[in-house]
């Protein structure tokens, strides 16, 4: 039996405002519990919400970024349910009339092809607080610092057909919101999170299967794992004669499985109705135009330009545009060095990325500046050092040993390009290895590498490889 997977994502992006969506309290992460919650966030009697206009601006930016309709009038509603970390007993969210309507995003898949994922809507809402169940000796602690933090919930159509597609889409949204500077994208701190609606059906069926909603997946890797686990679970269930129940399931990364949430927690009738404390949000054509004019170059536009302007492959372009800072780093290095885009790409996506990953640093935190990397590439291109030696220089740069030329000088890494010096060395190696020379000359071509190795070893790797090859060939065949 062939199965088809159907996936839709609900992404919650925490908006990068200084203050909360309906109060003046700070949104900074990591403060002492309940120190960043004012009377409004605590739901005190008599308080009223006042909309932070910044969130409207950010939602419109997102809407324009995915080519969506922006509603001239959107409405905040109350989603009513009881939970200790929900101070008012309702969450203010947009329900029937969201600010962002239908849009779409073209996503690059692993094989390089593009796929259009349709976006149903995106709406504004407030976050709840946090319940802390540990360390309270059978009681629960409530931290309301997060209560009232602005969120943009981005709902996709069920357009994805594999966990990999879902991750590709999630990454594209992740990159977009950071380009737009409306979300920091930090998944560990929970400022970018997603729920996945997953179902399976027999290939060719027109009706969707029963879906489950997966929660608590806070990294790209977990999204893939959780969805794949769920696909297998659903297929196994149906193939053994069972039926998928529509339910919410939590992903447990430790056990790599999904488990149903207690049904009580989801048996809610939210009794949505328009919040009478807030006026409808009105957006004018003029506001939209102003925001449109301020939009930065978006990831898909930049990717296209990188491929055309720098001749990059789709894959390289995709990686480089994944963050605005990385793309800017790349462009600065190319410009400052005058080196080929390919060389810059290889260094940035190779040694630099590896080093950053190893120390868990962002490109903006790189110890190697664009100016330093540009200089390094220049020294490779003007044959001062070989590509191999450049790795040593890079390491020294990483360790903040100073300027590129200073490092080359200090460690004596300058490439030997003086042909008489190289000739002398080649002659010495031929003289020192008579047996190998004989073998080589009698047809053992593979030994050529041996001579290169000996020469490099003797010179500390500083000989210009091209010149060495030419001279070796000439002398050995003489």
């Amino acid at each position: 039996m062939e199965w088809e997977t159907v996936i839709g994502l609900e992404i919650h992006a925490q908006l990068l405002t200084k203050s909360k969506i309906f109060s003046g309290a700070s949104t900074a992460f990591g403060a002492e519990p309940n120190t960043q919650a004012c009377a409004v966030d605590l739901g005190f009697p008599g308080i009223l919400p006042v909309l932070n206009k910044e969130v409207v601006h950010m939602a419109i930016k997102f809407g324009l970024g995915v080519g969506a309709e922006i509603a001239a009038k959107s409405v905040f509603a109350r989603k009513n349910y009881f939970y200790p970390d929900l101070p008012k007993g309702y969450q203010i969210s947009q329900y029937e009339l969201p600010i962002v309507g239908k849009g779409h995003l073209d996503v690059q898949l692993e094989d390089g092809t593009m796929k259009r994922i349709n976006i149903t809507r995106a709406h504004l809402e407030e976050d709840a607080g946090k319940s802390l169940h540990e360390d309270f000796h059978g009681l629960s602690g409530i931290d309301l610092n997060r209560a009232g933090t602005p969120l943009l919930e981005i709902v996709s159509e069920p357009d994805m057909r594999s966990a990999k597609e879902a991750v590709a889409y999630l990454k594209s949204i992740h990159s977009l919101v950071r380009y737009l500077e409306i979300c920091d994208g930090n998944m560990q701190e929970g400022s970018f999170r997603c729920d996945a609606n997953v179902s399976v059906r027999r290939k060719g069926d027109s009706k969707y299967g029963t879906r489950t909603e997966l929660k608590n997946i806070n990294s790209f890797r977990y999204v893939e794992k959780a969805i794949n686990y769920e696909i297998e679970r659903q297929i196994a269930l149906i193939e053994s004669g069972g039926k998928v129940t529509q339910e919410t399931r939590l992903f447990d990364p430790a056990k790599n499985e999904t488990r149903p949430m207690r049904s009580k927690e989801e048996a809610n009738d939210y009794r949505y109705f328009p919040d009478p404390d807030l006026l409808p949000v009105a957006v004018t054509e003029e506001m939209i135009k102003t925001i449109r004019d301020e939009l930065p170059e978006l990831p898909h536009q930049k990717r296209q330009r990188f491929m055309e302007q720098y001749g990059l492959s789709a894959y390289d372009a995709d990686v480089l545009v994944s963050s605005r800072a990385l793309a800017a780093y790349f462009e600065t290095v190319v410009e400052e060095s005058g080196a080929s885009a390919k060389l810059a790409t290889n260094w940035i996506m190779g040694d630099l990325s590896a080093a950053l990953n190893k120390e868990n640093l962002e490109i903006t935190e790189s110890p190697v500046t664009t100016a330093q990397l540009a200089k390094l590439l220049q020294r490779i291109e003007d044959d001062t050092i070989s590509g191999k030696i450049a790795k040593t220089v890079f390491e020294a740069l990483w360790n903040k040993e100073g300027d590129v030329d200073h490092i080359i000088e200090k460690h004596g890494l300058k490439q030997v390009t003086d042909s008489s010096a190289i000739e002398k060395l080649v002659e010495k190696i031929i003289a020192d290895n008579p047996e190998q020379v004989t073998d080589y000359r009698s047809g053992k071509d593979k030994l050529f590498g041996y001579f290169v190795g000996q020469a490099m070893k003797a010179s500390g790797g500083k000989i210009n490889p091209q010149q060495l090859n030419e001279l070796l060939k000439k002398k050995l065949s003489a």
Binding site: P45, L48, R78, R271, F273
Partner: protein, 483 residues
Amino acid sequence: MINKTIAELSKELHAKKISSVELTQQFLDRIKKLDKNLNSFITLTEDHALADAKKADAQIAKGATTPLTGIPFAHKDIFCTQGIKTSCGSKMLDPYISPYDATVVTRLKDAGTVLLGKTNMDEFAMGSSNENSFYGPVKNPWDLERVPGGSSGGSAAAVAARLTPGATGTDTGGSIRQPAALCGVSGLKPTYGRVSRYGMIAFASSLDQGGPLAKSAEDLAILLNAMAGHDERDSTSVDMAVPDFTATLNDSIRGLRIGLPKEYFDEGLDKNVAIAIQNAIKEYEKLGATIHDIHLPSSALSIPAYYVLAPAECSSNLARFDGVRYGHRCKDPKDLEDLYKRSRSEGFGSEVTRRIMIGTYALSAGYYDAYYLKAQKIRGLIREDFINAFKKVDVIMGPTSPTPAFKLGEKVSDPISMYLSDIYTIAVNLAGLPGMSIPAGFANDLPVGLHLVGNFFEEVRLLNVAHHYQKVTDWHTRSPKGF
């Protein structure tokens, strides 16, 4: 002194014929002596009052004053007052002390009023008789066996009994106007959005509006001057210029077009109340007004629409009283559900519980369209009725309440008949219009209120029209025997 209006007291204070401390002490003494019989106050703030009064006297000495400097005053216990218990008439908030002042409280404080205390009310402003208070019913000073009306019954009774020259109230379906009528005082519910709701504990957010109660229309104008105006902390407060409500009180009302809705003089109306209202209308004719019959065809639907919308909003507004952060919490909860269930059922009285249940039902999946949405449509129709009526008339008049004050306990077991006592006032809240009640005589020795309804943001006209009536009548100066 105690029978003087705020306008008169202000003159006395400014002429230094009496100090604010002396005046305040007089009212405090009266409250301590007489309120035992009325129960109109929940909290007496004697120390605050005397401190405020001292400050006011200093202001008067300096000459930096407003017409309200040094005037003793009371707030309905629905307005949050920093450091002072704000109970909303409920056991739920019996232990609650607000960490901040409501905007209305701040504004009246800034204007120099002296806070005597917080007045009794129906729990969470739900009621028409003040019998739903956790602190016991308020008595009507005109007849201690009768109710003062509600929910601002404490404020109305206290003003009537001369325990305070003025007080705040809130009006969701008639809660300022009906008790004003039943206690023989003047009360104004401003246009929705005219007065900030910040710090006014919400019952039904789209209907709630704070306003003043006092002896005269002139006093209401003085108080509204201090209370009204845009508040950036309340998104529904309207950002428009606030006129000086006292400036136009004496403008001529010759040619005023008064509309009398047929529907307000129906079979449910007490005969003697009807006579009093007809006499008041005649008085207006003498003042040069013309009378026009009008129709408000959808008004018959206002009670059912209101009793869907107000409970729907209340069911959500009162969800925050869950025993988690503040207010009443049950003893030794077994688990979270037990905490919620017991804290809420112990903390709320029966009328509040009834309305939460009605509202929850009306918003439930499968019922929302049939109840909530339909009620919203009716609300639109009611509003249309008024908009059409105001094309032909300047002010709409009628009785504030179909009967004078009824006996304590009379309607407790019959919620529908209780709800009907707001039959003339509720539509005004649904439309968002300003409304007033002023004393207009007596029926069976009990005060009768004349109901005046104006067009949106035309409080100026209402006050002007009411003031003229009070210049030629003395109903508003009458005080109950024994007070």
